[in-house]
């Protein structure tokens, strides 16, 4: 077993452990930390796969922006909130059963179906642009040459999100007094 495979198993186990801790932890701050560790393990997996750009995005956007925002909000809130003390709602057993059923069904589809068959993957490989590389330089060149319009459109989306967030806050204030 090569070092790469070992690391892959390690990161997979770490991200799973983070997911399980999210269900068990009581305080939202611990849940956030578990989610951050899970996301960083996923970034490690992306780096092992050679998709360096996405590994960097995962750390920068998810851990650096989204989760820091989340941690700020948790610090803003009242710790004596009863929902911090009582973890679970009422329908625990049926929910776990439904999710387990879904996981088993998806797993059966993945292992039983022909998604993983060698011909299918070879066909996928043919469809792709040959020699496409996910390293930073080739990706950036291709990204800004072919997909520049999409890249610019994301800024419009972000602007719309900013306006929407401000509108939500203002609407709440008006209602509050």
């Amino acid at each position: 077993m090569s070092l790469e495979t070992l690391l892959l198993y390690f990161f997979a186990a770490a991200s799973l452990a983070g997911g399980v801790l999210m269900l068990i932890a009581r305080h939202p701050m611990r849940v956030a930390l578990a989610l951050i560790s899970s996301m960083i393990s996923l970034a490690g997996i992306y780096a092992i796969l050679g998709v360096h750009v996405i590994a960097v995005f995962q750390v920068l956007i998810y851990v650096g922006a989204v989760m820091v925002f989340m941690v700020y909000v948790i610090m803003l809130l009242d710790v004596r909130d009863p929902s911090f003390l009582e973890r679970y709602g009422r329908a625990v057993v049926p929910s776990v059963a439904v999710a387990a059923l879904l996981a088993v069904a998806l797993g059966a589809a993945v292992s039983g179906g022909d998604i993983m068959s060698a011909e299918r993957l070879a066909a996928m490989h043919q469809g792709g642009r040959s020699g496409a590389s996910f390293e930073v330089q080739p990706f950036s060149v291709e990204f800004l040459e072919r997909y520049w319009l999409h890249f610019e459109l994301t800024s419009v989306l972000l602007l719309a999100a900013v306006v929407a967030a401000i509108a939500v806050i203002k609407a709440g204030r008006r209602h509050h007094g």
Binding site: T5, L8, L16, G19, M22, P28, A32, L35, S38, L42, I45, Y46, V51, V53, I54, F57, Q58, Y62, V66, F69, M70, V73, L76, L77, D78, D81, S83, F84, R87, G89, A91, V92, S95, A99, L102, A103, G107, V110, I115, M116, L121, M124, H125, G128, R129, G131, A132, F134, F139, E142, F143, H150, T154, A160, A161, A164, A165, V168, I169, G172
Partner: protein, 100 residues
Amino acid sequence: MDRTQLLLTLSIALFALGLVGVMIRRNALVMLMCMELMLNGVILSLVTFAERSAMLSGAVLVFLVFVVAAAEIAIAIPIVLLLARRRRTLDVGAWSELRG
């Protein structure tokens, strides 16, 4: 186990864990974070397939999904804060009259 199979299994497991979290936890912020976990599971499968098929468009799609997720959080958190301010709790049970 094949590498692709391992990663797809991991993505299914993360999705299921997130789903359990959304359904059983009471705290609205924790539910949001569990949704993020579900999204991460799905992104993992997207990256796996993009890497297997060596398609750059897959990586671009992942970038767009990241941006959408950031926008989603930027809107969802003010809404959660408004709800928390009005009922003085983050417990979703306090909003149970919203069910149809």
